[in-house]
Amino acid sequence: MTRTLGWAQTWAGVVVVLALAELASRTEVLPSRYFPPISQTFLTLVGQLGRGSFWAAVGHTLEGWALGLGFAALLAIPVGVAIGTSRLRYRACRVLIEFLRPIPSVALIPLAILIYGVGLESKVFLATFAAFWPLMIQTLYGMQDIDPVAVDTARVFGLRRSERLTKVVLPSAVPYVATGLRISSTVALILAVTAELVIGSAGLGREINAARAGGATELMYALTIVTGLIGWGLNGLFTRAERRVLRWHPSQRTVEGGAL
């Protein structure tokens, strides 16, 4: 019963937005020549579903996303923990981090091409570079926002520094890392598609670009919707995993409390 209700709520918003989009182009509020009715776009999308090339493109995009996010996580979480637990290391790296972080990976595209070529490596490099920073910063923030009572308690119980790290500091940073992973997952997907758009590595971005360059507006929007759907799906997976891992944290408790 509650499940059905939740499901209905989830889809109510989607239906309203779709209806508004359809209405906007049907009434020519948005000229339908350039923004085709959403129903037609979905028909185009359905047509794509039967094509092997479409699924290959989805696969390539997901590959870039997974590798980019994977490398970013492998690098960013340890680096964040390492820097976040030592004032010395933090001060040594702070200026470099703050200088490198704001550099947009899109500005690095020519250099990426030069070093990594136009294939998967460039895409993964750009996705990793971009996804690294939010995750590392979130980790860093998590390391600095710890309940002092917990730390003191741990001290009183005679936990060593390393034990305090694994038993108190890291668990309390997990929600931050989890949010960081969700943000970085989106960033990695965005950069994978952007790299495909700009340098033509295989994937959805390349197909979007081809549709745009060919004046195939419906196909362009259909593929754009696919990237959004993928992001939505991935986020759903992350949220579910987060809920499972973070059952003990207040932010998850409220959710379950609210669902009752």
Partner: protein, 290 residues
């Protein structure tokens, strides 16, 4: 031997795809792997890094690269402007209900250009200047080709300078063409070419020779078989079928039309894209030559 060739998924590169289909490259023992880019600016570093062996680029970018000392070499014709006014595929459009009737009326108006400081920019200025327009009064806004027509219709710009298939789309939307831009400057001007680097030629001269032979054969075949070109378009572009029958095709030949490249060099200097005109003789590679 596999060659990775950097292209933009537009009508211009149809001969390459047609040549692949007809087996012209296979005859030379070459396998072509096209790699599509959003714009030409990223193709050049990819060719320089050796990831691509050959790239497709507009002539202005080639001249700019050469003037900056990049070791690029033009090896084959890419696409030319039409030889007659009706075949011209680069045009300036205004809205159907616009007061702008002649090039002179564009003075003080805003023109949408896909890329500032590049070929379309130079050609639009040169064409309008030929019609006595004071180009210093013109305002330019960067508008990507795919969004040009809607931007024009919505009134953000007063005119747009576009290529195919967007010229045809502009006409279907009721826009009116004022002048053909490149054709006004020079009919049959070489708009884009295939290129590689000096290093690659030095090490693989025979490969380049084979590519050029097959490419030239493809260009000639494309020029003589427009229907097959249109069939090819469906395979690598996403141009909708009903549009494929209507788009204007580029002009393809094996002649590089060197004087038109030299003219482009002069105009690029005149409008401040480059400080020195590069020596076009040195920019174009000739088989067996230096």
């Amino acid at each position: 031997m596999t060659l990775n060739v950097g292209v933009i998924p537009i009508v211009d590169v149809a001969p390459l795809y047609l040549g692949m289909k007809k087996g012209f490259f296979k005859e030379e023992n070459l396998t072509i792997k096209p790699q599509t880019f959003a714009g030409g600016a990223e193709i050049l570093p990819a060719v320089q890094s050796g990831d691509l062996q050959i790239g497709f680029s507009n002539t202005t970018s080639m001249l700019i690269a050469a003037s900056k000392g990049l070791p690029v070499q033009i090896i084959a014709q890419g696409v030319q402007e039409g030889a007659t006014e009706s075949e011209a595929w680069t045009r300036i459009y205004v809205r159907g209900d616009s007061d702008i009737r002649s090039p002179k009326d564009l003075e003080g108006k805003t023109i949408g250009i896909n890329t500032l400081q590049n070929i379309n920019d130079v050609m639009t200025k040169a064409a309008l200047e030929k019609h006595g327009v004071d180009v210093s009064t013109l305002k330019f806004a960067e508008v990507p080709f795919p969004e040009a027509v809607q931007t024009l219709q919505q009134g953000d710009v007063d005119a747009v300078a576009v290529v195919e298939p967007f010229g045809t789309l502009a006409e279907e939307s009721g826009a009116r063409d004022i002048i053909p831009s490149i054709y006004t400057v020079e009919p049959s001007l070489t708009v884009a070419t295939y290129f590689t680097t000096e290093q690659y030629i030095a090490q693989n001269e025979d490969v380049v020779e084979r590519f050029v032979r097959a490419m030239n054969k493809s260009l000639e075949y494309a020029a003589n078989n427009p229907d097959e070109v249109r069939d090819t378009l469906g395979s690598y572009t996403e141009i909708p079928d009903e549009l494929i029958d209507k788009v204007l095709l580029g002009q393809w030949s094996t002649d590089l039309n060197q004087p038109s490249i030299e003219l482009m060099g002069q105009l690029s200097k005149k409008y401040g894209l480059i400080e020195e005109e590069p020596n076009v003789d040195e920019l174009i590679w000739t088989p067996g030559g230096s």
